[in-house]
């Protein structure tokens, strides 16, 4: 495998690991499977692209994150105040975001940023006379991921962060600590979705284009990365787990790149990611069930019944 392939896997893995970190917050900590992730990823991408195209590459990042906060707030509002099941709330927001995203792109489903100043082109110019020249994608994504891992770890160890973790663990205990679980769920989803949007914004700018399907399947890919990361790094401190998310994303991209090289059919990415999620969740379950299954099979064989 060539070096450039590894590099692409690394860059993509790093940018998408931000979404994994977002799911780490919503799925692992808050115990909410946020299915609006796909739409929110695209939302971040289109908002970031529109702002960059209008000539404000630096502003595109906070703008995309703010859009993510709004999306997260709506998902949280639906599930905490409107009595809508959390999975359904995510799906509803995801569906609605499709229209919103096209509206943000001014009615088209594709935006091109070939001649646009983006965060990546700015960094490329800044690095042009240094040894890091040409490594702008890697540099930007590495900085973003490092910052996010540190900030997220610090955040999850504050009182608010602990309250968010406790909400996923035992909401009764949060209530008896005089904290409203509605508040912690809302904050958690807002933060998680702002990170998802940031991830989408960076991916769009790094590949200089955005289309409406950019985020489709992102939630499964991120979930696969999360589960791989958890398996590889175990359940240590928050920092270890957060680093595990990045490692998992990279490992997923490597597996995917290798698989793609071997079968040479890019459209299989989503099937592969689905399979990884299925395996990662079902294998530990089946392993636990295995002794019982074996005993039952033996029993059937002996009694000749079915």
């Amino acid at each position: 495998m060539s070096l450039s392939l590894i590099q692409t896997a690394l860059e993509l893995g790093l940018i998408c690991s931000l979404t994994t970190l977002a799911l780490f917050l919503s799925y692992s900590m808050l115990n909410v499977c946020d299915l609006s992730t796909d739409g929110c990823f695209t939302l971040g991408a289109v908002v970031g692209a529109v702002v960059a195209i209008s000539g404000h590459p630096l502003l595109s990042i906070p703008a995309a994150m703010l859009a993510g906060v709004c999306s997260g707030y709506i998902t949280a509002f639906l599930q905490t105040r409107m009595g809508i099941n959390s999975l359904l709330a995510g799906i509803i927001v995801n569906t609605g975001l499709y229209s919103v995203n096209i509206a943000v792109m001014g009615g088209s489903s594709l935006l091109n940023m070939n001649k646009t100043d983006t965060v990546f082109t700015m960094v490329r110019e800044a690095l042009s006379n240094t040894p890091l020249a040409g490594q702008n994608k890697l540099t930007v994504s590495l900085i973003a991921v490092t910052l996010l891992v540190i900030l997220l770890t610090l955040f999850l160890n504050t009182r608010l962060g602990m309250a968010i973790r406790a909400t996923g663990d035992n909401p009764d205990m949060v209530r008896s600590s005089s904290i409203n679980p509605v508040f912690t769920t809302t904050v958690g989803l807002c933060v998680a979705n702002s990170i998802t949007a940031l991830s989408g914004c960076l991916l769009a700018q790094s590949q200089k284009s955005v289309n409406i399907d950019l985020g489709s399947g992102m939630v499964t890919i991120a979930l696969a990365s999360l589960l791989i990361g958890r398996t590889l790094m175990g359940k240590g401190s928050i920092l270890t787990q957060a680093i595990g998310m990045v490692v998992g994303s990279f490992a997923f991209r490597m597996v995917y790149t290798v698989a793609l090289r071997l079968i040479n059919k890019p459209f299989l990415l989503k099937l592969i990611s689905s399979l990884i999620v299925v395996l990662a969740i079902s294998v530990p379950y089946l392993k636990e069930q295995w002794p019982t299954i074996r005993r039952r099979l033996a029993w059937r064989k002996e009694k000749k019944v079915c």
Binding site: R159, L160, R165, A166, S177
Partner: protein, 262 residues
């Protein structure tokens, strides 16, 4: 301290499953009261606690806590002044978080963005040492690793960390083995006495109901059928209590877990 006046609670109103739990129930507690509550199955003991803690709002009447009307205050607001322990030792703490993190949540000091610091840890260590369970050396372990008794003792510590106005104990030793139950009860007695905390405790142990506290309530069918304190209470035996119950409720006490002996 606690003033419940004319409270009514009906579950599933307007359906075939409609169940009237309380109608026009009133109860007054003085500051420092330690009330033990016994009663038959479905008497409404737990419902009474849930209504006081704010798990649901009552259909009629008002609840006052230390002079504040909390009838429509959400449960997380009331939790600031009400400590609560359940029969299930798992309900009071977050299993995947460490002991010190659980204590920090309960302490609730500092702003939203404050971190656990050395001073906090020192305080937690001292408090944990009082439990005499060796938990002070396991502060960075997840609570899920503790035994039921340890978790219940930890929950007791958590709910009295900031002395509450009212402590609700809903058969909090019933799921523990006898030795551990005795120990948790001993800690409860100590914490309540030292903090002079107004306490309500549901128990199914008649002897315990008479030995602990300064007042005993017996409940049946959503009513308080017996309310004894002072001289009368101190002379009472378990047999007297049963006879009194029969007089008040017009039937024998039926509680499948009731312990008549000690």
């Amino acid at each position: 301290m606690l003033n419940i006046s004319h409270v009514s609670v009906t579950f599933n109103l307007g359906t075939v499953n409609e169940k009237k739990v309380f109608s026009d129930l009133s109860l007054h507690l003085d500051p420092g009261d330690f009330v033990t509550i016994i009663g038959s199955n479905g008497a409404g003991k737990s419902t009474l606690f849930n209504a006081i803690a704010g798990d649901f709002y009552t259909d009629a009447g008002s609840i006052e806590l230390n002079g504040q009307d909390v009838t429509f205050a959400p449960s997380y607001r009331r939790a600031r002044h009400i400590g609560r322990l359940f029969q299930d030792p798992m309900r009071g703490s977050a299993p995947h978080m460490t002991i010190e993190e659980n204590l920090a949540m309960a302490a609730g000091s500092g702003g939203w963005f404050s971190h656990l610091n050395r001073v906090d840890r020192e305080i937690f260590r001292e408090k944990l040492a009082l439990l005499d369970m060796g938990l002070e050396d396991r502060m960075r372990q997840p609570v899920g690793l503790l035994s039921g008794g340890q978790r219940q003792a930890l929950t007791l510590l958590m709910s009295t960390m900031n002395p509450p106005w009212l402590l609700l104990l809903d058969e909090h030793t019933a799921a523990l083995d006898p030795a551990t139950a005795e120990k948790v009860l001993e800690i409860t007695r100590k914490v309540v006495e030292e903090g002079k905390i107004t306490t309500m405790m549901v128990t199914h142990n008649m002897r315990q109901a008479l030995d602990l506290g300064n007042r005993t309530l017996m409940m049946d069918g959503g009513r308080i059928v017996l309310d004894i304190k002072g001289e009368e209470r101190s002379r009472m035996t378990v047999d007297d209590l049963l006879a009194q119950f029969k007089m008040g409720a017009g039937k024998n006490l039926d509680n499948d877990r009731m312990l008549l002996s000690d």
